[in-house]
Amino acid sequence: MAATSFQRKTRAKNLQIAGSKPSLYNNQLLISSGIPSLDSILGGGLAVGSVLLVEEDNFGNYGRLLLKYFCAEAVMTGHSLLLSSADQSPDQIIKELPAPIIDDPGSVVTRPEEEGSEKMSIAWRYQHLPKFQSNPTTVKFGHYYDLTKVMDPALVNSCDCSCVGQTDLLDGDLNGVMNPKYRCLLKTIKEKIDRGGFSTAKVQEKRNILRIGIHSLGSPQWGENGGFCENHEDLDYSLPRFLLALRSILRTAFGVCIITIPTHLFKSATFVSRLERLCDTVVHLESFAGSDKEKNPAYKEYHGLFHIRQLPRLNSLTSHMPDTLDFAFKLRRKKFTIEKLHLPPELSDTASRPQEDAVPNLRPGVLSCEMDILSYPTYSGNFTSQKTDSNVSD
């Protein structure tokens, strides 16, 4: 009998890189974004080799914060970092990274027990059950950070970090298909990947991951004119070309990229959706600061809405779907959390609800770009299964 070309499938040896874990869905290598609740929404973390696009809020504060968490996580996990910004000095961003909270997971676990010390008389069966948490916190993956303190400079210096600021971006030839600043940044990223041994083509003894953070890409400081060419008529294709090139570089590298883009500066909706399509994961931050929603009673405990525009489909047709798409974020000193958006309980005695008229649109927009939701995971949370205690039949 002729020898077949089939070979026994050997289990691929999982890479052991600090600060990474394989996905439970598709075995993709994941790293933490620095915000555990964001990780869980995106299916465990950011897949290595993918690009996360954060569409900035109108004043850019929360977008920058997300980027800072991402960079801080790089320092904590020992990953390499490449940070670029034209609006701010990247060195300044590095200096302002939040300090990590080392002992947080323990304190989170013990607290609910103290609160629920009151003895239940009727529902006594539920007494010993742990308090239900809407956002499961992973203990060893991702950190919490204290925004009131800055990270220890010695710790920051331990990180292999390269900054690309406005002055570094100046050199570059004007003739070409791309804005010289984008071209220059792309070149720097490519060189960093080649020199640091992050490419998958190279066989490396010890692997590390390169985290790339790009702040406020496409702002006027990059020479971007709201997506248009100088004549205000034709679209400028530099930015889409940059994103395409960046993604193709990252696909063959041990790297993850976060880009924040002030998409509210682009007047053309087509242009924005083109940018979205060229990234893997797209989220949009809508801050309440300076808008009417700040005073809206429905949003009282939140600082903004968190819209998911696109979820990554990596090596598969489907993506991980969270069980809801209505999210809101809130910022505490020691925690930035993204939660399911709940309406607050109606506590007033009167049956009429006067704020209903004032709040015509409580539900934030659903997923605005088409996604093939081929399978919706059947959700059986541990919450319900635990509660089906021994039921006595009469």
């Binding site: 069966r125 010993h128 990059w222």
Partner: protein, 300 residues
């Protein structure tokens, strides 16, 4: 808010004043200029508009030595090829050449107005220039504030959006709605802490170019309707008794509820590991309990 901004009590590195033909903002700019003359060591005034020279007359003779004037009027498009300021020149370079900049000196810039730059040069160029001028490291001096005027009726919205994105404070003049006030403006201030302040204020400008009589214009429509203050107690006039006395409450707490077993059994249930089920079966009188094994005939 406006008074604090002018006096420098509220820090804003890049301030933009947007005016129009109907509501000119040069008076307000003069207020900023005067205040800056008192606060910093050197004020660079860049004039691009024909009428903007008049602003310099406002400054009293004692303090105008601090002012370094850059006039773009002589040679706007660099036809004379002189070394004067023109639209093509690098503003940061021009200011460094004419001024006396070093780390210890506080410097401020007043630009009247950005409109010429916005019309003749690409918008991102203007934004980059503004950003560079406000950056202390790039200028080699401690830049206290950059105040720029722009005529918003000359530009399209998208250009203005880009400039507004770059600056930290936008002050837009509005038609006044109060008989006692001459001016009105809408301020959007991005604090360093990240907080956003939106405020509409009426004010007057005195002969000494100081802001006075600032009154905040409250938004008339209050979105949350007032709750009726006197809530009617539904339990007040009832033919039956709804409330409990302490004695009755005590009696209620002693009633044995169904399915609340004795302490031992409660503990037995609670001590089980989480998620594991256990069946408690209490046959009642009508229950026909079959002693036989129903699976007896099966070969298992």
């Amino acid at each position: 808010m406006l008074g604090d901004l002018v006096k420098g009590r509220e820090k804003s590195t890049l301030t933009l004043i947007e005016d129009s033909v109907e509501e000119p903002g040069r008076g307000l700019l003069s207020c900023f200029l005067l205040s800056l003359c008192q606060r910093v060591d050197e004020v660079h005034v860049l004039t691009f508009d024909p009428k903007s020279q008049s602003m310099l007359d406002v400054v009293p003779a004692g303090t105008n030595t601090k002012i370094v004037h850059h006039n773009c009027q002589h040679d706007m498009l660099n036809w004379k090829e002189s070394s004067e300021l023109c639209l093509d020149s690098d503003l940061a370079k021009v200011i460094k050449a004419k001024g006396n900049l070093n780390r210890d000196r506080k410097v401020a810039l007043v630009i009247d107005s950005l409109s010429a730059l916005l019309l003749f040069r690409p918008v991102p160029y203007t934004c980059q220039t503004l950003h560079k001028l406000s950056d202390s490291d790039a200028m080699g001096a401690s830049v206290e504030q950059v105040v720029a005027l722009v005529h918003h009726d000359l530009h399209d919205n998208s250009s203005l959006t880009l400039v507004e994105h770059t600056v930290s404070t936008v002050i837009r003049t509005w038609p006044t709605q109060s008989p006692g006030h001459e001016f009105c403006c809408n301020t959007l201030h991005k604090k360093i802490s990240g907080k956003i302040v939106r405020i509409k204020e009426h004010f007057n400008i005195s002969d000494q170019f100081e802001i006075e009589n600032i009154t905040e214009l409250k938004t008339v429509i209050d979105s949350t309707p007032q709750q009726p203050t006197s809530q009617v107690d539904p339990a007040a006039n009832l033919t039956f008794n709804l409330s409990l006395t302490d004695q009755e409450k005590k009696a209620r707490s002693q009633v044995k509820l169904p399915y609340t077993y004795d302490q031992k059994r409660i503990e037995a249930t609670l001590n089980k590991s989480v998620g594991e089920g256990k069946i408690f079966y209490q046959p009642d009188e009508a229950d026909d309990f079959d002693e036989e094994d129903p699976d007896d005939d099966l070969d298992v």
